[in-house]
């Protein structure tokens, strides 16, 4: 079975919600929609306080190249435009809306009928994906239309769809592939047309056998789409590792996948693209997994963006008594939340609740130079060394040892028998070396 070669770990899968059908969360009373929910330049606000908005109405406009539109997820009145804390506790400008009814923009097709025929041309597809504010839903939230615009001189020959979901606990992509498989495959076809390629490969780890067989059956009706089972190994969902696993091409260090003729998109994104193109529906809801060993009802919810996280947790049986940590995303790369009032945004793939015992880090001991961090690093780095030089503020060495290659997958810290916070220091190194590189470029 296919997989990537260097490094990797296999954490306990704990896919507690994998057999829970997607449940539509009732429309909330209030939402708070941050106007920048993607990677890149901030969007510009286009509504004012007191205005009435409909579901799907544009709230903030993208006016930079790497930027994305933000739409309202509910109908109602804008109560205020203020700041709210994001997952890390820093304040971001957001639109607060008091919900009144559920009135959608007329252009949105609310029916369930699957439309397979793709009417739009390549350029129209890209423009519409941009209009609908589609970003990568895997967590990195990179605007999808930018990915489809292949830079001059480069050529894409294959589209890779990431259905790996290698993070433990998370099941949102799994459920989308199972329940919205056909729509998703139409979305893949749309992305193929937008990118101008004849071939798409969907990579799915074989702990989701039902999704693999389901999509394999369906893919017969679509031209050029292949579904591949992959061996379970983290971080297979990282795009470079996924490309390596599926087509054995290695993206050169510091370059994008387009360098080897690939564009990678997430399975959930493909579904959002389908809805955007065929149903005129902007990205204003997504599937979020709420899970954790102590959670009463681990579930997958279809959620309007802007809902507070604690509403989701309430719906999944309430916050357990001994909660120590709440994570947005998976346990390997997710961010731990400062407060439960933060809104669900485009990049929220899951809410993971950990008990106090689970959330304690293990005791830090001396490095015994066992080399396990080197063995598991999927980028072939030496985390022990990079962490050490970053801790000693020796950023020149850190740069020479290619700290910038690090994809922050956390395999090194996960594996370290001494419990050393390797990734913490690697991030310090990346941060500082990034600054040094930028300064150098400016001078």
């Amino acid at each position: 079975m296919k997989t990537f070669k260097i490094g990797g770990v296999h954490p306990e899968e704990n896919k507690l919600a994998s057999n829970k059908a997607i449940e539509v969360l009732p429309i909330p009373q209030k939402v708070c929609i941050p106007i920048t929910q993607h990677l890149g330049a901030p969007s510009t606000l286009v509504v004012e306080k007191g205005a009435n908005v409909k579901v799907g109405q544009l709230l903030a406009k993208a006016d930079a190249f790497i930027c994305a539109n933000v739409h309202s997820s509910v109908s109602g009145k804008i109560s205020k435009i203020d700041t709210t804390t994001d997952t890390s506790g820093y304040r971001k400008t957001s639109v607060f809306i008091d919900v009144e009814g559920d009135e959608w923009e007329e252009s949105i097709d609310k029916s369930d009928a699957i439309i397979k025929e793709i009417k739009l041309s390549k350029e129209e597809i890209i423009a519409k994906i941009k209009d609908m504010g589609i970003v990568g839903l895997g967590g990195a939230t990179f605007p999808t239309h930018v990915k489809l615009m292949v830079p001059q001189g480069k050529k894409a020959d294959v589209l890779i769809i990431n259905g790996v979901e290698c993070e433990p606990y998370l099941t949102s992509d799994h459920r989308v592939m199972l329940e919205k498989g056909e729509e998703m495959l139409v979305g893949v076809s749309i992305l193929m047309k937008g990118l101008g390629v004849e071939k798409a490969m969907i990579g799915i780890e074989n702990n989701k056998a039902d999704a693999i067989s389901h999509l394999q059956n369906l893919s017969g009706n679509f031209n050029g789409i292949e579904v591949h089972a992959l061996k379970v190994k983290y971080p297979q969902g990282a795009e470079k590792q996924l490309i390596k696993a599926l087509i054995n091409r290695e993206v050169p260090a510091g370059k994008l996948p387009i360098e080897v003729g690939c564009v990678v998109s997430n399975a959930g994104t493909a579904f959002a693209v389908y809805e955007a193109i065929q149903k005129n529906k902007p990205l204003f809801e997504r599937v979020v997994t709420v899970t954790g060993k102590s959670v009463k009802k681990p579930s997958n919810f279809m959620v309007r963006l802007g809902v507070a996280v604690n509403e989701l947790i309430e719906r999944a049986g309430g916050l357990p008594e001994d909660t120590g940590k709440v994570i947005s995303g998976g346990p390997m790369m997710g961010k731990s939340l400062n407060s439960l009032d933060v809104p669900v945004v485009k990049g929220t793939s899951g809410i993971l609740i950990m008990t106090q015992k689970e959330s304690k880090r293990v005791e830090i001991q001396n490095c015994i130079r066992c080399g396990k961090c080197i063995t598991v690093c999927p980028m072939g780095l030496e985390p022990y060394l990079l962490a050490q030089v970053a801790e000693n503020a020796n950023f020149e060495t850190a740069e020479n040892e290619r700290v910038m290659d690090c994809i922050e997958c956390g395999s090194c810290h996960y594996t370290c028998p001494s419990g050393r916070p390797l990734l913490d220091y690697l991030r310090v190194g990346k941060n500082k070396v990034g600054q040094i590189i930028r300064n150098r470029a400016n001078n």
């Binding site: 050169p252 940590k325 304690k360 956390g410 028998p417």
Partner: protein
């Protein structure tokens, strides 16, 4: 409600821990230890206990009073050092010498560099070599192994490698010496004179397999070490079988198995990448054979490993892992 914890990802940790690794090594050493108790009897038990306890006590005292740290003797690393040190001495060694060896191993070779993980040389080997150089007579008087139930006093004799070295030096051929040397079977199963841990190759290999199974060590160092010795001595044997003994004898006699499986694989003092480990193993093997065949000591495993320990930082620098995305253009 309790306060939420905020920390950087990852939020889960694998099941490997320092303690598991260290105690795993201790478990892996048990078969060889039991075999040595079987053959050398009570003195072996006393010497092992002395080594382990004095290592623990020295580590505790140094951490507590000299370095003012929280003592970490429960992590098992001092136990390993103590057991390895005991494995490397004859059971007849006076106990006070054993205590000095433990002090050198823990105090000089480990703690003076900053404790666990910081030492460039394998502490047990430093202790052993210190004893070998300071007390050469006591360290090379090997009681002949005898099953515990025989009440005869221990007879002392040289190790098989010693017999060979002396004989060849005098000009005897290997076939003339054959009667004085133990059979390969004895070497493999046990019952040959030597240090505690060298008695049975089979028990050592069993421990090694356990460590590989538990993913404490990888095959790279032991296999490349042993294979190098086998190939090198095999070539010499082909060249002149009357002067150089067959490679099987070299593999099973002396401390090769002990060194290759337990000493050279010490994480702290061995290279960290697979490529580096193989280079290190080959280096250990070549040096061992050089010392055994042409050096003045009959046995060269501990010197070879110590020399390669010194080279380890260089190997770490020179043999980097293959980096993702480093495509040749």
């Amino acid at each position: 409600m309790n306060l939420l914890t905020v920390s950087g990802s990852p939020h889960v940790h694998g099941d490997q821990s320092l303690k598991k690794i260290m105690w795993g090594v201790v478990i892996a050493m048990l078969p060889a230890m039991l075999v040595s108790f079987w053959y050398f009897g009570l003195p072996a038990i006393i010497i092992t206990l002395t080594a382990v306890i004095s290592c623990l006590v020295f580590e505790y005292l140094i951490q507590k009073f000299l370095l003012k740290q929280n003592p970490t003797i429960t992590d098992g690393s001092a136990v390993i050092t103590g057991m390895l040190l005991a494995f490397n001495v004859p059971s007849s060694l006076p106990l006070w010498q054993m205590v000095i060896g433990a002090l050198v191993a823990i105090g000089i070779a480990k703690m003076s560099y900053g404790g666990l993980g910081k030492n460039p040389f394998n502490p047990a080997l430093v202790g052993r070599v210190f004893l070998l150089i300071s007390f050469p007579v006591d360290m090379t008087l090997w009681p002949l192994p005898k099953p515990v139930w025989t009440m005869v006093d221990a007879i002392t004799g040289p190790t098989s490698l010693g017999v060979l070295k002396e004989g060849v030096a005098k000009g005897d051929t290997v076939s003339q010496l054959a009667s004085q040397l133990p059979s390969l079977q004895d070497l493999f199963i046990g019952g040959v004179g030597g240090s505690l841990g060298e008695v049975s190759a089979a028990a050592l290999i069993l421990g090694g397999l356990y460590m590989i199974f538990r993913k404490i060590i990888t095959w790279h160092i032991p296999v490349s070490f042993i294979a190098t010795v086998a190939i090198f001595t095999g070539i010499m044997w082909q060249v002149n079988p009357e002067h150089y003994i067959n490679p099987m004898f070299h593999l099973l006699a002396g401390g090769l198995m002990l060194g290759a499986i337990f000493m050279a694989t010490d994480m702290v003092t061995s290279p960290m990448t697979y490529k580096g480990m193989i280079v290190y193993g080959i280096g250990c093997g070549v040096l061992t054979v050089l010392i055994r065949l042409w050096g003045s000591y009959p046995e060269g495993v501990s010197f070879a490993i110590l020399i390669m320990n010194a080279v380890t930082p260089l190997i770490n620098k020179g043999f980097k892992p293959k980096r993702f995305g480093e495509v040749v253009k």
